[in-house]
């Protein structure tokens, strides 16, 4: 037992030396955890913010001007005035997501007691922004209309709602995307690093050399997970503290760091085990590359980090929660980093990730000898 631990640590030292000497790999790791994380957090937002809006004003009345003026940042960009034909083209090429149209005689119809219709055209191919953008626009215009007609009267609505967003008061998506990008980086790098480290040893023949020594396969596998995992874990903690907290300015709940690191460590172990397991199914880097790309994409996109898990069909949600540790890690991260949840609240997610790590490791070890023999 003691010997086994020592052997694992010795082999881990060797793995770490190998990583240190691979400059290209180190540069890529650095890039992914700093530049890429920052860029994605900065550029991507699913929240309604500065949405591009155009107005087709065929009325040119006080009311239409007043409503147009009400469309303002931060939710919307200042609207651009277009002709109906231009608006149609612009929607088609995706230049604007919303186009508000005031029909001719809009104001006079309303003042003379006739009904009038104001239309909002939405480019519904921009699914992430179209629905919410339209809802907010509708709300905004309705409110503005009722103050226009009853200037000193009560509000349009009979009920006043106070919205309180817990854990992320302004619904800043930067917070979310930066942390999710961190998870994506961990997933991409750990899968490839762990899998490639085994394939490389097989291709160079060094694995044979280790296998004739009094070293057991699990010591080799553990050392690879330990070494690659430690590098990735170190890089992600660096990224969390320096890039996410300091540069991007995401406030992390008090005292959550130890729990987050522990959970990330388990996630890294799970992903590294999966990477090693997948590498036992392939003989060459060419095969491994083709296998790993779909795995990475599915793990990233279907983790709940891009779109909510609730939106997936039930069968797929269950399937992903059974085979991929990523949804559990996303749930864990949200709870810990935003909600400041303690161990008791995330125990289930941690247990699920640990179970997957154990399962992948068990299968990888079972396949290890058989695969290396051929």
């Amino acid at each position: 037992m003691w010997r086994s631990l020592l052997n694992t640590l010795r082999l881990t030292g060797k793995e770490l030396r190998a990583i240190r000497r691979d400059t290209v790999m180190l540069v890529l790791i650095f890039y992914v955890f700093t530049v890429a994380t920052y860029m994605v957090a900065d550029a991507i937002s699913t929240e309604i913010n500065d949405l591009a809006v155009a107005v087709v004003d065929e009325d040119q009345s006080t009311l239409s001007h007043r409503l147009t003026d009400a469309i303002q940042p931060p939710l919307f960009k200042h609207p651009v005035s277009l002709t109906p034909a231009q608006a149609e083209q612009a929607l088609k090429y995706g230049d604007y997501i919303l186009v508000v149209s005031f029909p001719p005689k809009f104001e006079s119809d309303l003042l003379s007691g006739h009904a009038a219709t104001l239309s909002i055209d939405v480019d519904a191919t921009a699914v992430a922004h179209a629905g919410n953008g339209a809802a907010f626009m509708q709300e905004l215009l309705a409110g503005e209309l009722s103050t226009f007609f009853t200037p000193n009267g009560s509000a349009a609505s009979l009920v006043d709602v106070v919205f309180r967003n817990r854990f992320n008061p302004n619904l800043t998506s930067k917070w979310f995307t930066s942390v999710m990008q961190l998870m994506n980086s961990v997933t991409i790098l750990t899968l490839i690093l762990a899998g490639a480290s085994l394939i490389r040893e097989r291709e160079h023949g060094t694995i044979e050399h280790v296998l004739v020594m009094p070293v057991r396969p699990h010591e080799i596998v553990f050392s690879k997970i330990l070494a690659n995992g430690a590098v990735i874990l170190g890089a992600s903690v660096f990224s969390l503290l320096v890039v996410i907290q300091w540069l991007i300015g995401v406030p992390l709940a008090q005292g959550v760091l130890p729990l987050f690191i522990a959970g990330t460590a388990i996630y890294v172990i799970a992903v590294a085990s999966i990477g090693l397991l997948l590498s036992t199914f392939t003989h060459t880097m060419g095969q491994f590359g083709l296998l790993i790309i779909p795995v990475i994409i599915v793990m990233i996109l279907l983790s709940g980090g891009m779109t909510p898990m609730e939106s997936m069909p039930g069968w797929l949600r269950v399937l992903m929660q059974l085979i991929s540790p990523a949804p559990h890690f996303v749930a864990f991260t949200q709870s810990v980093l935003y909600r400041g949840a303690g161990l008791a609240l995330v125990a289930w997610e941690i247990a699920a990730m640990a179970a997957m790590a154990a399962m992948a490791l068990a299968v990888a070890l079972a396949r290890f000898r058989r695969v290396l023999a051929n």
Partner: protein
Amino acid sequence: MSFAAELEGVSHRYGSTAALADVTLKIPAGCMAGLIGPDGVGKSSLLALVSGVRKLQSGTVTVLGGDMARTAARRRAAPRIAYMPQGLGRNLYPTLSVRENLDFFGRLFGQKAEERAARIKMLLEATGLAPFPDRPAGKLSGGMKQKLSLCCALIHDPDLLILDEPTTGVDPLSRQQFWELIDSIRARMPGMSVIVATAYMEEAERFDWLAAMDDGKVIAQGTPAELRAQAGAETLEEAFIRLLPEDERAGHKPVELRPRVVSADKAPAIEARHLTKRFGAFTAVDDVSFEIPEGEIFGFLGSNGCGKTTTMKMMTGLLDPTEGETRLFGEELKNSDMQARLRIGYMSQSFSLYTELTVRQNLELHAKLYGVAPERRAARVNEVLAEFELDEIAREMPESLPLGIRQRLQLAVATIHEPRILILDEPTSGVDPVARDAFWRKLISLSRDKGVTIFISTHFMNEAARCDRISLMHAGKVLAVGRPADLVAERGAQTLEAAFIGYLQDALGPEPAAGNTDFDGARSPRSPLRQSLTRLWAYTWRETLELVRDPIRLFFALMGPVILLITVGYGISFDVDDLSFAVLDQDQTPESRRLTEQFSAIRQFSEEMPLTGTGDMTARMGKGELTVALEIPNGFGRELHQGKVPEVSLWIDGSMPFRAETARGYALGLLTYFSEVYARENGSADSTGVSIETRYLFNQAFKSTNAIMPSVVMLILIMIPAVMSAIGVVREVETGTIANFRSTPIRKIEFLLGKQIPYIVIATLNFWMLFALGMVLFRPPFTGSLVALAAVTLLYVIATTGIGQLISSFTKTQVSAVFAVAVITIIPTVNFSGLIVPISSLQPSGHALGLAFPGAWYQTVSMGTFLKGFGWADIGVNTLAIAGFALFYIVAAVFALRKQEA
């Protein structure tokens, strides 16, 4: 006298190591010229420079009258030169059959189909390969591989044939046949010049002219007889050692084999009982038995691929035999037996120590892993360093050491734990005679002084002669076992080599008679364009065959996209449903319940147990069980009746902003609706008379899948084609077949396009599969021009396979190519190409990065043709941009790829 190649002041360095130092040499034409000397003295570098596969650093090389520094001259010379690189069948494609390999080479020289067929028939008959035209090259024996390599080199009637160590690793019989074959070909083509490098001094006797090399310099040249006379030696091997500079042979003493003291009545150190190993249908080792007493040096001879290495791996426990057993000192060897491993030291055929550790670190790591006691460890490492004369280089990295010293280091590592048995798989291949003799003295001392049992495989007959006993192996079977002298006597042969050949001939039966070797078809002239297309086709055809014969790669190339479409197509959705919702109703009036019902009535919210208090809400939201909580304060109903505006609070979990915002949008709509209904029921008039009509264009149903599918197609068609083609070039660099590109007349653009075409075809096929499957599964409307989409898709996959080609042409290993593709393409395409966030809503940096990849441009086209009724008129700019990317990647790859090795 004319010269095949003239070198003038040629020097060549790899980093800080000098491979050639100011070499001036004239190699005569029309004869068989040899370069002799051990590995690492610069023979291969010299031949690579002569053949033009390596870039000249300094000096001049003139080959067949052309200056090899000039591109035009190299291009003229390429069709006249044939180059066979070092390594058994290293320029062959293992999954291609014998005939397909030859076809490939014929095409590389732009030959017509009939001409190729005629030449292949002639070459196969001349070399005795005619019976196996359809056998994959990877399944040939070492000797046959070399014959096939030679055929491939001769397919275009070269004027200069360059062979780099053609017989290393080949059994003596095949070696003999190989040289006979060369002689017969030379008899038929008397004008052909041949330059051969070899480390076997015995072979050099048959050459017309020799240059002996050492340490990057030519130390002697002339006919074999002249060299022997110059050194006053009887054999070339002795002559070579005598010709070496004083300091290098200072340590050299002849090897003396002392007699072994036989101790009786002991269990044999190694005992193999009916060992058989099968890999699938192939029997690598067939019922092998032998016994090796303790302290004996037991030699194992046979060609590559005859089962030696497999047998040795079964001795070490690396492989489990299919049948039979191995006993070490009378105990059965089991794979999991850690104690047995402590008794064995193993040295594998290739260098297998860690190149990232120094000499001392390697020794220390092994000492630790072999459990040398901590207090003994430092002393033992120093002892071994001294014993194997490694102390001066203890801090160096193994990669920078000459082969001979690396092998000594491997032996040192194998003996660090003082094993009772040493299993050494071809430890001296490629090592120079002086170092080999030193190595053997070490072995003999281990055997005679320490009683270590040594099980060693070798190709060198003079080494075999030093063993106590040897065993001859062929095709998985042991042909003979005994003392070398006894075997020679038994066959009545002159030498051990002759005896070995005799045994092999008995095992093989009579050699197939060489057929007609005449070929009268001259080189038939073809237009340059036809030749160019034939060369391009050579790579397309071969890449396709390789892909088709790799079922794992083919499966993922075809099924990967399908799996991705199904999972991502269903999984990525912005339709937010089933938001968990609970109410904290402190009012408990009909009005408050009515408001609550509004929420529970629609499918977007699924109601959970009511909340008991604020603490309960915090806890449940903290766990993520609750996304939306509605708090209705006390007095809500009363205030509503009184016409006041009561306040309710809606708590939303903001940790996923998109979900929070959508929940908020839904809640707003519900409250507005509630107000309207309540107002109408209570008689207050509708306030404004305006109806706001929201029209969802292009996707009336506002279904996520309609919009996601076109984006997913964009994502899949960049990732899969890029990673497929990224392996292409760099794999050839790693396996060594890139030599064929460097040494034949093929141009860079022909090579790159030829390799790209199969992946373009696969990616186009992927598109149609995705299109058909997507239409069936997700039923999105398709409103635009399918012809336009198909045409732009073709350009797009040319661009995306181009990304892979470009990455492949500058990365050094397959690992880094895959890594680079993943990191460089996944981040921008997932984030900045319109998959999740529309391109118009990106921040400027993300927007710019998105447009720097073809994905963002293609996404507009696929989305437009699916949902917005786009035709040709709408996609002009995007088409141009994607075509521009395609062209740019190809051009950049041509510039990044080097036709000559540095």
